[in-house]
Amino acid sequence: MDDNILEMRRITKTFPGVAALQDVTLAVRRGEIHAICGENGAGKSTLMKVLSGVYPSGSYEGEILFDGKPVDFRGIRDSESHGIVIIHQELALVPYLSIAENIFLGNERRGRGGLIDWNRTNADAAKLLASVGLHENPVTPVVQLGVGKQQLVEIAKALSKEVKLLILDEPTAALNDIDSAHLLDLMRRLRDQGITCIMISHKLNEITSIADSTTVLRDGRTVERLEMGSGEVTQERIIRGMVGRDLDSFYPDRVSVPGAEVLRIEDWTVRHPTQDRLVVDGATLDVRAGEVVGIAGLMGAGRTELAMSVFGRSYGRDISGRLYMHGREIKARSVAEAISNGIAYATEDRKRFGLNLIEDIRRNVSSAGLRKLARFGWVHDNEETRVAETSRRDMNIKAPSVMSVVGKLSGGNQQKVVLSKWLFTDPDVLILDEPTRGIDVGAKFEIYTIINRLVADGKAVVMISSELPELLGMCDRIYTLSGGRITGVLPVAEATQERLMELMAKDKEPVR
């Protein structure tokens, strides 16, 4: 019999009209790293909310055994007092408090008279920081740290609560490769210290490299539990469990027939909006009709900054350089001008920058091209609905109607709304910034298919991605960006992950 620290048995959780979890079973051995995978909507987050007490005991059926004893958590404090700590995808740190204050928030180190003992707070924080390998002063405000370091602060905070079971929800989603590697290392070290970890992740390569066992969920049910130790479980094997079938290929095939040049960017230079440094330095690149061009770069290389500054100067200052559409020089001093010149930019953060989450699909689809639906400033609202209906059909947006509020759609469907919105402006070139971030495998494939359809129709696509396999699978050519400079361009036939990494890491010293 295994020594299980956690057993969740026959958990069923229903919301009005839907069963989010049905008879889900989860067993986690003491001292292992256990991965949970599943497509979006498979029930991973719901299961973790049941475990951590967000959905209190009584609101679900089934039983939870922790350390062999049945537990009934009434709330997060309850589960935390047992040593179960969950770190959410969206980090929950207070930006203007210091690292130490954040670590002990709600759990303050108090001295005589109930006042906070600052010496002990900072000294204890320093110890915790050392144990997660973060070399920062505990009094530094969290807002000054990057996402990777903030993640480490969250883990230090969990350690301060004498955590036995640490749950990480998509811990590397926002991290670059180097920070991700650090984090995975840290998880291995924590495991060796006897802390059990549950990790929810979409990144299957991380799961195969780090997890000891994996539970696969699909449509609110447990599909299988895989033992990873032998190294025989491949990514393809996990995907088969998640989607219930083999994906013949991650990336749909496309015959590449590049046509005439659509967009050329020459000698593009952008200064940081507040600091005195260049974030893009003399970048020159072009994209043709019927072509997907990739931009690879580590975090901070200036990929998004390049794209946004081209898109109507939405980022940075002192922008210089030239833009050509179809060989003719254009000015795109505002987003409206960029759109009317046939440029579209789908942001990497669709919730913050891409969508009006409280509005319906219809209003979001029309939002960038509203003038096309209007005469003398009057919007033709039935025509607007028809446009949205067409998008919903063409893009296979899964929603009851175009009046459905966008905030309630899954990530993949939201991304399809973003694409619909930009396609309605009828652009010649689409700049897609991390188009598949936070989207499940099935929806990714759909997005790839849509991209291929667009280039087959003669559009030009610029694709920015942190996932090199995605760039290698989708692009015709890949530019590498490092420290704001273009360090290379490779036809996909000559590109490998290793060569791209080499170019992405080249010339890393900060420019000027």
Partner: protein
């Protein structure tokens, strides 16, 4: 959440001409209809309940012809302010200065007309010009300098109150000439006679109902042509009949009192124009987009600064309209005029379903919210309720209305 699907009847009969189809397609499933309009119908129901409650408590006095006319005259300027305020709130801002701007525009008008002896329309133009200038001032600071509207208009509240005192030299000015006083106190009546009632008022009511029915039917036909969900024809007729009956009853009450108040015509025109402006124009859509997600609006090509600027210019304009109506009604200008008006206007918008975070709200909702406040205040005055208790009740109603909204949203969120 329940959502409407395109009605199967409409889908099944694409060949049929839309006007003919308009007679017999559509859903009458009450669940679908209620769920779709929960928030909207909620405030209408609340208004009906409150009207009924005070009719009961005052033995029908609150629904008497004289009192109905009174409510229109007494609260019209708050409703005018609420139109502008709901647009400001949808855009994600707030305007604390409108009370002071009402005072200032009224004061300028009074100085021009009473002290300088200019004709009444010069006063109107002067007041509107001052309102637009104030709006442009606010718009400049909010849109182009980037100061939060709360601060800008708080400053404006002090600033324009002070200027009002300067303009009036700390004294009241009155009375206005009759023409000016007619704006808020005048009636259109007797134009086509009537026996104990004013036939003209009934005629205008009839025209309004006819216009509502025709535009309702045209909308329905267009929606069917585009295979949009519509209510069943019986329900459509019932809705038209209900609205028609309420409007005609209202007109009948007015006709039996003093006729059609001029200020009601102004208010109706503003509601119509601004209702269309917010729902059907690019500008209106952009206001919602900015309030819903500023960054996304910016990256969709919305000229955020321009839109924000005009939101405040518009608020200044409507403050001037309210200032003219108020000074006309009180037949003079006082240094303390318009005190706390901003709070009534803000409360009307929020009771009417606007969201504190922006992006949500309707002009019609704000009107209903304003009417709820108006009927309550008026009813309590009729009952002789103490001023202090009136304030307590109004405060609680605002709180409960918004709490109901928050509760609804949370429930909708949890149902997911």
């Amino acid at each position: 959440m329940t959502s409407t699907k395109p009605s199967s009847a409409a889908k099944g009969a694409p060949a049929e001409s839309a006007p003919a189809a308009a007679l017999h397609v559509g859903t009458s499933d009450p669940r679908t209809l209620i769920m779709n309009n929960l928030r909207q119908s909620g405030i209408f129901v609340a208004l009906v309940v409150i009207v009924a409650l005070f009719a009961f408590l005052t033995d029908g006095l609150s629904l008497s012809p004289g009192n109905i006319t009174n409510i229109v005259l007494q609260y019209s300027y708050i409703l005018v302010l609420a139109i502008g305020m709901v647009i400001v709130i949808i855009g994600g801002h707030i305007d604390l200065s409108v009370g002071s701007v009402v005072a200032l525009t009224g004061a300028v008008s009074a100085v021009v007309v009473i002290r300088q002896g200019q004709p009444w329309w010069v006063g109107v133009i002067a007041a509107v010009a001052v309102g637009l200038a104030v709006g442009a001032w606010h718009g400049f600071w909010v849109a182009y300098v980037g100061i939060p509207a709360f601060i800008v208009t708080l400053a404006g509240m002090l600033l324009f109150r002070g200027l009002t005192l300067r303009v009036l030299d700390n004294i009241s000015l009155s009375p206005f000439p009759t023409e000016y006083n007619q704006i808020a106190a005048g009636f259109l009546n007797g134009l086509i006679g009537g026996d104990g009632y004013d036939a003209f008022t009934l005629l205008i009511g009839g025209i309004a109902v006819a216009g509502y029915v025709v535009s309702g039917f045209r909308t329905r036909v267009a929606r069917i042509r585009y295979q949009q969900p519509v209510e069943s024809f019986a329900l459509f007729v019932a809705r038209m009949a209900l609205v028609g009956a309420v409007v005609m009853w209202f007109a009948w009450q007015l006709a039996n009192a003093r006729g059609l108040p001029i200020v009601l015509i102004i208010l109706a025109a503003l509601v119509l124009v601004y209702g269309l402006l917010t729902r059907r124009t690019v500008f209106g859509r952009q206001v919602y987009a900015i309030g819903g997600n500023l960054s996304a609006a910016m990256l969709s090509g919305v000229k955020v600064r321009t839109v924000n600027f005009w939101i405040f210019v518009n608020m200044g304009f409507l403050s001037a309209v309210a200032g003219i109506i108020f000074s006309s009604r009180s037949n003079g200008a006082q240094p303390a005029a318009g005190n706390m008006f901003e709070l009534d206007a803000i409360a009307a918008a929020f009771i009417g379903g606007a969201a504190v975070t922006g992006g949500v709200g309707t002009v019609v909702g704000a009107m209903v919210g304003g009417l709820i406040m108006a009927v309550m205040s008026n009813g309590m005055q009729l009952m002789g309720v103490d001023q202090s208790m009136q304030s307590v009740v109004k405060g609680l109603v605002l709180l409960v209305a918004v709490a109901f909204d928050v509760y609804n949203k949370r429930r909708a969120g949890a149902a997911r």
